[in-house]
């Protein structure tokens, strides 16, 4: 189990007046992530998702609080923890001077995988993501989707117990996005715990067993996607108001939603099921994709 206790991260920065100031990226986060689940961190840009992932993957230290992997404390057992985790960063961070195969070799060497085993794993994983014929190509020659798939299998080379994916499908077309979702589901079936950040609502709904909704560095809701939706109501009525701005109201029963919609004298009325975006807007007044 992965456990965060009172985790806080503060960054120094220069404010608009040019004076030193502090920005709270993560404000006292308590969280538990269970073995074998796909756990989503959902929130808009600046919500603190990437900072959380960077703290969990030991790329940055928390300003306060503790992070435990089972009974291993990140402040003490960094090297042991690094053997347990795989990291798929948001930024495509391949070594630009190396080929596909060499990037994989480098990862294998850094995780102390013996040479023979390394070759077998590389062949297997590249075959898995249909990149075998690109093994000798420079990584710069790959398409965006290929790079994302390669990033994921590179992180799997040392068979991590927990895989962190920071915005794994950002800027990808829907077809490639779905292939990556399939890949993530397959990994979960093989027993890997997955922690992913996303600002795509449909991604969180399609993949995550539980979702933590973040806003301005704070955890504002945590549950299964279905439970979160049920808490606010399952039925939504949307309409254009007098200023042609979109408004909506959430209802717990279908009949309530229908009655409300029937009595609404506005343009473009739409009845639909609630989604995580509605949960987010209801809780924060902001949209996730902003």
């Amino acid at each position: 189990m992965l456990c965060l206790e009172g985790v806080r991260k503060v960054f120094p920065y220069k404010n608009a007046a040019g004076k030193d100031d502090l920005k709270v990226a993560v404000a006292g986060l308590d969280l538990q992530i269970n073995k074998g689940e796909i756990f989503g961190l959902l929130g808009p840009n600046g919500a603190g998702k990437t900072t959380i992932i960077r703290m969990l993957t030991l790329l940055t230290k928390p300003t306060a609080g503790k992070i435990y992997y089972d009974d291993l404390d990140t402040a003490i057992a960094a090297k042991q923890i690094k053997q347990l985790i795989g990291v798929v960063p948001q930024h495509i961070n391949f070594d630009q001077d190396l080929t596909v195969g060499e990037n994989m070799q480098l990862h294998g060497r850094l995780h102390h995988i013996p040479a023979k085993k390394r070759k077998i794993i590389i062949d297997k994983l590249l075959n898995y993501v249909e990149l075998t014929d690109r093994i000798n190509d420079n990584v710069r020659a790959l398409s965006g989707g290929m790079k994302r798939r390669l990033l994921i299998v590179r992180a799997l080379m040392h068979e991590p117990d927990i895989l962190f994916l920071d915005e794994p499908t950002v800027a990808l077309d829907p077809q490639v996005r779905r292939r990556i979702w399939d890949l993530i589901r397959k990994m979960q079936r093989s027993g890997v715990t997955i922690v992913l950040t996303t600002h795509y609502i449909e991604e969180a709904e399609a993949l995550c067993d539980r979702v933590a909704i973040m806003n301005k560095g704070r955890l504002i809701a945590l549950d299964t996607p279905q439970a979160l939706q049920q808490k606010i109501g399952s039925y939504v009525v949307e309409w254009d108001n007098e200023k042609t701005e979109r408004e909506f109201k959430i209802f717990h029963s279908k009949d309530e939603a229908k009655t409300f919609a029937d009595n609404l004298f506005q343009e473009n009325i739409l009845r639909r099921h609630a989604n995580l975006e509605d949960v987010f807007v209801e809780l924060t007044g902001r949209r996730v994709n902003k």
């Binding site: 790329l59 053997q83 930024h91 961070n93 070594d95 990862h107 850094l110 995780h111």
Partner: protein
């Protein structure tokens, strides 16, 4: 830790191996120009201490070239840190971050020494007369190590690519010309004379020239180079640890 040092070195070695011919050809241009312009051209009308100027010049070229190559071998690390973020791959791996620093510095020393070997071959082809001893090679290695470490520190701390260029312009370029490379520091005004003797390149130039001409090496200069190697390495250790925070 040794395996991790080899891994960091291996990465740079395969990149160098792939570009070896380009690397060698490009490293020949500047020394050939120096040897032609200052050795053959200007140098024919100059004698130093009764000897040919080319014999005075070659140790200076070796010193400045090994400095430039070792330092600039690590400028790409700046891009790996700031733009591509590929060094995060090392920092999320279960390795001692120091092995990353040592591997990178060793690879830069190798580049500096390959470049020095090219100059030595060219210098002999141009008719230079100097002796290579184990201490001569050790001084070259120390010089490469110092500037590889400075390059590593700069790449890990400097914010923009432009600032890396400025480091070259304001630090390395003046040293290339003033630190006993093309003329003796004795010719400099007194304040400059003492200032350049604080800098490691002056000691490298003087040592290489002394050893190359069969003289007795000044052990104080060797001690100064060792001091720089240790101090700069300590800075690399500090900056590598800080990079993870």
């Amino acid at each position: 830790m040794l395996y991790d040092i080899i891994t960091a070195f291996w990465r740079d070695w395969i990149v160098l191996k792939r570009r070896m011919i380009k690397f060698i050809l490009s490293r020949m241009v500047a020394p050939i120009l120096y040897l032609v312009a200052f050795g053959w051209g200007l140098g024919r009308s100059i004698t130093t201490g009764g000897g040919a100027y080319i014999n005075f010049l070659v140790p200076g070229i070796l010193a400045l070239n090994s400095m430039n190559i070792s330092f600039n071998s690590l400028t790409s690390l700046h891009g790996e840190r700031v733009y591509h973020k590929s060094i995060e791959e090392y920092f999320t791996a279960p390795i001692n971050p120091l092995s990353f620093a040592i591997g990178k510095i060793l690879a830069a020393i190798l580049r500096g020494m390959i470049s020095s070997a090219i100059i030595i071959i060219l210098a002999y082809a141009f008719g230079a007369d100097f002796t290579i001893t184990p201490l001569f090679l050790l001084v070259l290695i120390l010089n490469c190590a110092i500037f590889a470490e400075i390059g590593f520190y700069a790449a890990m701390t400097i914010a923009s690519y432009e600032d890396m260029g400025r480091f070259n312009t304001y630090i390395l370029l003046p040293m290339s010309f003033l630190c006993g490379t093309f003329f003796s520091p004795d010719k400099l005004p007194t304040a400059f004379y003492y200032f350049v003797h604080i800098l490691p390149l002056t000691h490298t130039s003087l040592l290489l020239r002394g050893i190359g001409s069969g003289g007795v090496p000044n052990m104080i200069s060797v001690a100064v180079l060792l001091f720089y190697v240790i101090t700069c390495f300590s800075l690399c250790v500090y900056v590598t640890k800080k990079a993870q925070e």
